[in-house]
Symmetry: C2
Subunit: 221 residues, 2 copies
């Protein structure tokens, strides 16, 4: 059985889970408290991070490397489609969310509010929370600007860029940190991706001590 | 003419420069003081970062998206070769250096010592410098462990992983922050990659106010 070592509110793990589900690859989910640096886990991934995917006797780490692997080996449906230019744009946006959005928003809101408590590593820094709450507005506006010109974030077909963005936003939505009324195009886009069967598993996540708001799993939010 | 907006001591720009040179793609280098957020530059890349590549009328951003594009369109020589498993390992290590190594080492040494001065954004924080100097030892040991089993970092052929690693290490070597005596296999690997024609341009870099040490450009270091 394939096995994904993950944490429910990790956007990087959610991106991989969405790709696995979209491609109908069955996988057993194993929660890995990576910050405890268990020796077996550190052997699997010396970077000490989730996600880690065990598949056919192989161990793979780093969400982007895993997603590229899955898209090459399980091409149905292709999530990096089109020509090299279109793939470049999709990969640019994956980096946008996994690097810039992660740094400016996810790490400032989710990590302060949730991860610090779960990993017992301190209390939320209100300056970070404030900075994250300001930055997410710019990012939603940028997504809206893209979606005014395109059906999906990277072009006219759904790509890994949409999954990367949805992975981050769904984690933040779990703690009610997304203002869906800010931009109608972004809300429509999220409604579309949220209603995919691949998203069901993510909408069922429950983190002890952090109950999700009622709208989190609601397709009509 | 192709044009790369870059900064000389950016490891992400150096990775792209190495790929361009290895594939013999001519490009005009334009230094971009990205932190000044010039309006034209922000239009080219709203993320406000270098590298940005202008090629055939197109603008591309994010170093990994650019490198994947170049490897797809200019396949000689392939820098993500082999099967999906080998490519996954090469991409894992690119992420290792561009994410983990960057966070634990490059940002703690280079950014404290050089970028803060160049961008006039403060003075080096000695705690960061100390943490970076400790962390680079672990990373060199990990590279040595990989190179005990493989000719190149990701396997038996040179890949983008070697360029990502060499891009970071060459920036740190410019400020004498690499102890080449720590691991013989790592030193041999760097000597091999440093002697490639693609590296010449990088060894000629000069940053005003930061003269490189004599060994920096020396192939027998």
């Amino acid at each position: 059985m394939n096995r994904l070592y993950h944490m429910p509110l990790s956007p990087f793990c959610r991106k991989v889970r969405l790709v696995l589900a979209e491609k109908r690859i069955e996988v057993e989910l194993v929660e890995e408290r990576y910050w405890e640096r268990d020796a077996d886990f550190m052997r699997r991934n010396p970077a000490g991070k989730v996600p880690v995917l065990r598949m056919d006797g192989r161990t793979m780490a780093e969400s982007q490397a895993i997603c590229e692997f899955l898209d090459e080996v399980y091409p149905e449906p292709k999530l990096l489609p089109g020509g090299p230019v279109e793939r470049c744009e999709a990969r640019r946006l994956v980096c946008w969310f996994d690097d810039k959005f992660h740094h400016e928003v996810t790490s400032k809101l989710l990590y302060e509010r949730v991860n610090k408590k779960v990993t017992k590593s301190g209390y939320p820094d209100s300056r970070n929370v404030k900075a994250g709450a300001a930055a997410i507005k710019f990012h939603i506006d940028y997504m809206g600007w893209l979606l005014d010109q395109r059906r999906w974030l990277a072009g006219d077909v759904m790509t890994l860029a949409d999954f990367a963005a949805a992975a981050h936003l769904s984690c933040l939505d779990y703690i009610s940190d997304v203002d869906w009324n800010r931009n109608a195009a972004v809300k429509d886009w999220y409604a579309k991706i949220k209603s995919r069967p691949a998203f069901r598993n993510i909408l069922a996540d429950q983190v002890p001590g952090f109950p999700p708001p009622r709208h989190y799993a609601n397709l009509d939010f």
